[in-house]
């Protein structure tokens, strides 16, 4: 079981056309992209993730939300083994991640976080194709991929030669997204990827992400503290409270949920929306 599993081997960029067929075949045989099976994470006396069972189907766009400290980020990081489970199993494409080499696992999964964390001493282009470079892809292929990815995240192609410090916050986030997508992963883990941006930039980036998600067919797991984001962007919203899943539903179904934690999360955006509606009305 250990070793490069064909399911996780990142596909080369030239496979863009066959990607869908590949994903379809996989979706038929392994319908679940990520499965949490009785997973707990415990740090000292604190239970951060408490016996979570959750299945994310391949191709889905799922938002993980909840109050601060609810365990959203930890749950996300279990999927690429940045956090190890203390109990239970985490399966990616049917394989227990604990049996995989974490480095190989992570190279097969796209990852972007709020801090972005571009490498300041690398150019934008070098940052974007970091994973293909780690995978040993030839230079010519990587150069081609940089151009494709700059197009995908709607940045001018001449940005490749820039240094990260020359970018605005929104541009850096786009580069971070491009870096996560560089090796055409089938699973994308996003931890508040647009958290620190102004609403307009944020909306434009989230739109772009939606377009890419639909066009490329990867599975997206998005952590956000903003319920409005979760409701408007995802096909399914998972609400965490004190390390437990307290709601798991389509956005429309979540509105009527009566769990106190869910109601507390909904109250504020709902109130905002009503007031704005009154103003418009």
């Amino acid at each position: 079981m250990v070793g490069p599993t064909p399911a996780l081997a990142p596909r080369l960029p030239r496979c863009a056309d066959t990607a869908k067929t590949g994903a379809m075949t996989l979706a038929d045989t392994i319908p679940t992209m990520v499965a949490f099976d009785g997973v707990s994470v415990i740090r000292g006396a604190v239970t951060i993730i408490d016996n979570v069972d959750l299945a994310i189907p391949a191709g889905a766009f799922v938002a993980l939300t909840g109050a601060s400290g609810a365990g959203k980020t930890t749950l996300l990081r279990l999927a690429n083994r940045l956090v190890a489970a203390d109990a239970g199993r985490v399966l990616v494409e049917g394989v227990d991640v604990a049996t995989l080499d974490p480095v190989t696992l992570r190279r097969g999964i796209g990852y972007a976080s709020q801090g972005v964390g571009l490498f300041p001493h690398w150019t934008v282009a070098e940052n974007i194709v970091a994973v293909p470079w780690l995978l040993g892809q030839p230079r010519a292929l990587r150069d081609k991929r940089v151009a494709e990815l700059l197009d995908l995240v709607e940045l001018p192609r001449d940005f490749g030669g820039r240094a990260p410090r020359q970018l605005s916050g929104g541009q850096a986030s786009r580069v971070g997204l491009a870096r996560a997508l560089a090796a055409s992963p089938r699973l994308l883990l996003l931890d508040e990827p647009f958290g620190a941006l102004d609403p307009e930039t944020r909306a434009s980036l989230a739109d772009r992400l939606g377009v890419l998600h639909r066009a490329q067919g990867f599975t997206t797991l998005l952590v956000t503290h903003d319920l409005a984001d979760a409701l408007t962007r995802a096909e399914r919203v998972v609400v965490l409270d004190q390390g437990r899943v307290v709601a798991d539903a389509a956005p429309a179904a979540l509105i009527g949920n009566t769990h106190p934690a869910v109601m507390a999360l909904i109250a504020s955006p709902l109130d905002q929306a009503r007031r704005i509606a009154e103003l418009v009305g």
């Binding site: 801090g115 964390g117 490498f119």
Partner: protein, 516 residues
């Protein structure tokens, strides 16, 4: 002046090469120690606190003391290895210098390394992990390049400190640019001092600029700039080594006799005198000068040097561990008997003069007040001001003087030796501590007060030969009683004075022509 300058420059290639070599080796050793420590410390704040605190404590020890401390340490270690494994450890020269200088360079290296790694934002490390870098890739591709400016800052500080502190390696017998500085300070040969300082400063500046250029060049990906920095280092090393090779003396077979000298004029002159006599017999000789007073005897006993001159009172306490002085003849007889037994050191000859502690006054003051002896001085000392050298007031001689004569002065002030004499001639002091063979006694018309109650121990100059070359005793024993104190004073004065200054070699030749 031009002659002094050419003498200074003639000393340079040898010392410059040794200086560069010992600095580079010490820095290399320090990096080899610091690099793994920095990596282990990363992410362990408690360990980091301890390691940096220890390095900081080491830093507070003056470099001079740190160097001197390694001498007895290595000596003891050498005895242990000799007993256990049958080989000794050299306690003088390169090894103690290397160890002390490396320790000294640790703090900036550790601090630069630790601060550099700590400066990397956590989200960058998270991204490196998240995209699937191995630990090694994260270190090599992200952490080290990002930490480089701070790490290199530490390295540059360490390099400059090491090159500066390496001048002090002279005191433990390592050849360095300090040879020029220490010798020059002692005999007030400013051409030597300035040449030594300038060479050390130039070395430090060139290395600093070269490291700065290569670091910023690499950081900014300006390869030309980075290469120019590396090229500067290469040119420096090739230049110094080339100069050394072209200037080096033809090599002789076997280890030469090493004549030791402590760091004052009389010792330099006597070392030259001994060296000349040995060379006249066709024996290859090198002089290792500037040895610390405590180091010299142990160096002789350990065979690191072969011959030097020390003084009976010093040997009485340092080598035999006696605390109460004895009459002169008894002291000499005991030394001649006990030194060979206890240390394998032979007293070959008493040279005929003393370099003892004494109190001195301006002659006209002494005549006016009717003072000839310490007993006379005690009568009027309450109105007089005493200037001493920096160590006298903590020495047993001072306690003995007070006890025997009841001396009480209006004021006590400690000076460096040169300033002490100036205080007397300039009227800021009435009485000073002096050394009986000091050339300034005659030159400044000072009167040495006699010691009728024999409170001050004798400091007869004794020529000592170490266990490695007992054969030297036969060659040098004819120096017994040949140097009267007036001649020694005159020779010292030729080197110490500022007008018509002679080199120790010239003074030694003058003295050799006037032996009794």
């Amino acid at each position: 002046m031009t002659e002094q300058l050419s003498r200074a420059v003639a000393m340079l290639p040898d010392r410059l090469a040794a200086h560069l070599g010992v600095s580079a080796a010490a820095l290399g050793l320090a990096i080899a120690i610091a690099a793994p420590l920095v990596l282990v410390m990363a992410g362990r704040p408690r360990l980091r606190g301890w390691v940096l605190a220890i390095a900081a404590v080491i830093q507070t020890v003056p470099a001079l003391a740190l160097l001197a401390l390694f001498y007895p340490l290595l000596l003891a270690l050498g005895e242990v290895t000799q007993r256990l494994a049958g080989f000794g450890v050299p306690a003088l020269g390169l090894l103690p210098s290397l160890l002390a200088l490396s320790l000294y360079a640790l703090l900036p290296l550790l601090r630069g390394g630790a601060d550099g790694l700590a400066s990397i934002p956590p989200e960058t490390l998270d991204a490196a992990d998240g995209i699937g870098m191995t630990r090694r890739q994260r270190l090599m591709q992200v952490e080290l390049p990002m930490a480089a400016p701070i790490v290199m800052g530490g390295l540059r500080v360490a390099a400059v400190w090491t090159i500066g502190a390496a001048t002090l390696a002279t005191t433990v017998g390592q050849k360095s640019l300090g040879d020029l500085i220490f010798a020059g300070l002692q005999i007030e040969d400013w051409a030597l001092v300035i040449t030594g300082c300038l060479a050390a400063a130039a070395l430090a500046i060139i290395v600093d600029i070269a490291l700065w250029r290569s670091e910023t060049g690499l950081g900014e990906r300006r390869w030309g700039k980075a290469l120019s920095g590396i090229a500067m280092l290469v040119v420096l090393v090739v230049g110094v080594v080339g100069w050394y090779w072209s200037a080096r003396a033809p090599t002789s077979v076997g280890r030469p006799v090493i004549v030791g000298a402590k760091s004052f004029s009389e010792q330099y002159i006597l070392a030259e005198l001994i060296a000349d006599r040995l060379r006249a017999r066709g024996i290859p000789v090198t002089i290792r000068s500037g040895l610390g007073s405590a180091v010299a005897f142990r160096a002789l006993a350990a065979g690191d040097i072969d011959v030097y001159v020390d003084y009976s009172g010093t040997l009485w306490s340092n080598a035999l561990g006696r605390t109460t002085p004895a009459p002169r003849a008894e002291m000499l007889a005991t030394l001649r008997r006990d030194l060979p037994q206890r240390h394998g050191v032979t007293v070959v000859a008493a040279l005929g003069f003393e370099n003892a502690y004494a109190l001195a006054m301006r002659r006209r003051d002494a005549v006016r007040l009717g003072i000839e002896s310490l007993a006379d001085l005690a009568v009027s000392s309450a109105h007089l001001r005493l200037a001493t050298d920096t160590e006298f007031q903590s020495r047993s001689e001072w306690t003995a003087l007070q006890a025997s004569y009841g001396l009480k002065f209006q004021r006590l002030t400690a000076y460096t030796p040169t300033l002490m004499v100036r205080a007397l001639t300039g009227g800021d002091a009435d009485v000073i501590t002096a050394f009986s063979s000091d050339g300034r006694i005659a030159a400044d018309d000072l009167l040495l007060l006699t010691d009728p109650r024999a409170a001050l121990p004798a400091y007869d100059a004794l020529l000592l030969v170490g266990p490695r070359r007992p054969d030297l005793a036969r060659i040098l024993q004819d120096l017994e009683g040949r140097i009267p104190v007036e001649r020694m004073r005159e020779a010292n004065w030729q080197v110490d004075r500022s007008a018509d200054k002679q080199t120790p070699g010239q003074a030694a030749a003058w003295l050799a022509a006037r032996l009794n």
